[in-house]
């Protein structure tokens, strides 16, 4: 704190004012929060406009337009998006959207098929007792959880059959597995969020108030 210039101190005070403004929402909606919210949204929206313009339009298209003919396709699609501003030819804006949706679906389909489906099946096909009976008791339990968890999870997400009888019971095992996993993930993520809170509290008490040395 003592090494900061006037503007350094000013910055810390502004940051503290805005941080407390956001936290004031915990009490109720109030003018302080509204002000902070408006500042945050305004600055971030402006910031992203500048970043996207200079990174994409200038940094990628304008600089490389002579060397990469493919960039013109992107520019034309972008221009078609702007046709939305002209009501009579606004329908043209649907074409670049259709292009993005179609291309994205195709790209992601292969990614999902390899990472989420095939790799999962390949890793699940394992001997229950380990290679050559090499697994310990704990490892056997672990293998069992992976195999049963994957299989029953797939049953739960099978939409062509009603969850009744033995099929329904298996699906319930699957959802139990999912819920236990979610519980563990909840605890883990909450702990990581606590570190974010600690970071802000540390800022207030150390950088702003100077109570922590």
């Amino acid at each position: 704190m003592e090494h900061l210039t006037f503007w350094g101190h000013f910055g810390v005070w502004v940051a503290a004012f805005l941080t407390l403004g956001i936290y004031s929402f915990l009490y109720r909606d109030n003018p302080w929060y509204k002000f902070t919210e408006a500042v945050f949204i305004g600055i971030s929206a402006g910031y992203w406009v500048v970043v996207l313009f200079f990174d994409n339009f200038y940094g990628k298209f304008w600089v490389g337009r002579g060397e990469e003919p493919m960039l013109w396709i992107g520019a034309i699609l972008g221009l078609m998006m702007l046709m939305r501003l002209v009501p009579k030819i606004g329908w043209i804006a649907r074409w670049p959207l259709a292009f993005i949706v179609g291309a994205t679906s195709g790209l992601w389909m292969m990614n999902y098929l390899t990472s989420n489906a095939m790799s999962q099946v390949q890793s699940t096909i394992m001997p229950l007792f380990g290679e050559g009976f090499g697994a310990s008791f704990g490892e056997i339990i672990g293998n069992l959880i992976i195999i049963v968890g994957t299989f029953t999870g797939l049953i739960y997400f099978f939409f062509s059959k009603e969850h009744k009888g033995a099929f329904g019971a298996t699906a319930r095992v699957g959802i139990w597995g999912l819920m236990i996993t979610f519980g563990a993930m909840f605890g883990y993520t909450v702990m990581s969020r606590m570190s974010l809170l600690i970071g802000r509290v540390d800022f207030i008490f150390r950088d702003w108030l100077g109570l922590i040395q």
Binding site: F25, I41, A45, Y47, S105, M110, M118, F159, F182, M185
Partner: protein
């Protein structure tokens, strides 16, 4: 005799010196060697003067099944590259492009014997050599013959992936055809979906708006696409019941697509005049700036129903808790496993993972969406069968030692291996 002796009288000293000098040196050499052997004098490290052995059998080959921008280098490490005690400290790979100047492209650790060269051009030829480095020496390998990377049109090592894709996509097409012909395709009920209409009805009764959050990712995320499909159904219901819908978004493309979707929903409901562009508003791309705005909207407009459907990240719990605090009925859904726990904890109904995609197909009731859902079920059926058969065979193979079972398991497993 005397003259003869006199003529040869000068020879004895010359002969003596000729014989003596080598003898003296030989004696000195023996003495020195003996003392060195006894360790009485300094120890000389002979390895320091030994030349470093280069890598051998250096080979540059085309990298199979790529876009023609990679080559594969393989070599036999230097014989001085021995673990722990070896002299080699690193290998440097040098590249010569179109007979130009060599330049270093990589420094590798000892014992490495392969390197994949990337970012090459199909219209250039390349040569390589490897430099083995030691503390006090270096050794260059031979330079490889010039090679040009080649492009392959098909990744034959992904044949299994192609077969799987054809099977699943074929099933999707068959089911789409079946649905198009008017045959009813069965899809089981999804718990969260039945609540959608109830939630819209609740908003109608309370006279409060519906807040629809499509996540914070752009149109290149399938979760956003699924969310917009559900939005189409919601918009139709909203138009039918004449209630207000509010949709703040974090991406400009999503704003455009959402406006189109809601407009289509209003048109389907026969009320295109009731649609306005203000229903969808862009806030900001900034994650927490968007969250601050949505929280503000929630507490000020107090929506009766909040839909949180799409791709969410760290903001999921903040949004869900705020919605909960204003007493809204909340229907959430995402395919991001890390955020699902928060939705399950704070929302009334949650569409878990693929249920989000299934819900979009179920609600749209379109042959294409239903057909794709049923086709995916075929893929899941194949996966389940492979797991059951594979695990049974490999476990039995461990128990019985049957060779054919091991081979059959490896065959099944190989269908699901995708190598780079």
């Amino acid at each position: 005799m005397s003259p003869r002796r006199s003529t040869t009288g000068a020879r004895p000293p010359v002969l003596c010196s000729c014989l003596l000098i080598p003898l003296v040196f030989f004696f000195l050499f023996l003495t020195n060697s003996a003392s060195l052997a006894q360790g009485e004098t300094e120890v000389v490290d002979t390895t320091a003067t030994t030349p470093l052995a280069p890598v051998t059998s250096l080979l540059a080959q085309d990298f199979k099944y790529d876009d023609g921008d990679k080559l594969m280098l393989t070599w036999v490490p230097s014989i001085d590259d021995i673990p722990v005690t070896g002299r080699v400290t690193a290998y440097e790979v040098y590249q010569i492009c179109n007979n130009g100047e060599p330049h270093r492209i990589a420094e590798l650790l000892p014992e490495v014997s392969t390197f994949r060269v990337e970012e090459l051009h199909r219209d250039s030829s390349y040569q390589f050599y490897v430099l083995a480095l030691a503390e006090d020496a270096s050794a260059q390998s031979v330079v490889t013959a010039a090679i040009t990377p080649e492009q392959e049109w098909l990744k034959w090592n992904w044949l299994n992936l192609m077969v799987m894709t054809i099977v699943v996509c074929g099933a999707v097409m068959v089911f789409i055809k079946t649905a198009t012909k008017g045959r009813k395709l069965f899809v089981r009920k999804i718990a969260g979906l039945e609540a959608v209409d109830e939630a819209i009805g609740r908003a109608t009764e309370m006279g409060r708006p519906i807040l629809y959050i499509p996540g914070i990712n752009d149109m290149d995320d399938v979760q956003t696409l699924a969310s917009l499909t559900i939005l189409g159904h919601v918009a139709e219901q909203v138009a039918n019941y004449d209630i207000k819908i509010r949709m703040p978004v974090a991406r400009s493309l999503v704003m455009t697509a959402a406006r189109e979707t809601i407009k289509a929903g209003y048109q389907t409901a026969g009320r295109p005049d009731a649609y306005t562009d203000d229903m969808v508003s862009y806030i900001t791309d900034e994650q927490f700036g968007y969250v601050a705005a949505v929280n503000g909207i929630m507490v000020r407009e107090k929506p009766a129903t909040v839909f949180l459907l799409g791709a969410f990240f760290a903001e999921s719990l903040i949004l869900a808790e705020t919605g909960n605090s204003v007493g809204a009925i909340q229907i959430a859904g995402t395919a991001r496993p890390a955020q699902l726990p928060f939705f399950i904890a704070a929302c009334d109904f949650t569409l878990i993972g693929e249920e989000l995609f299934a819900a979009s197909a179920y609600l749209s009731d379109e042959p294409k969406a239903l057909g794709s859902l049923k086709g995916q079920d075929v893929g899941k059926g194949i996966a389940m069968a492979a797991i059951i058969i594979g695990v049974t065979l490999t476990t039995l193979a461990t128990l019985t030692g049957a060779e054919w079972m091991s081979s059959a398991t490896e065959l099944i497993r190989s269908w699901f291996v995708v190598t780079d």
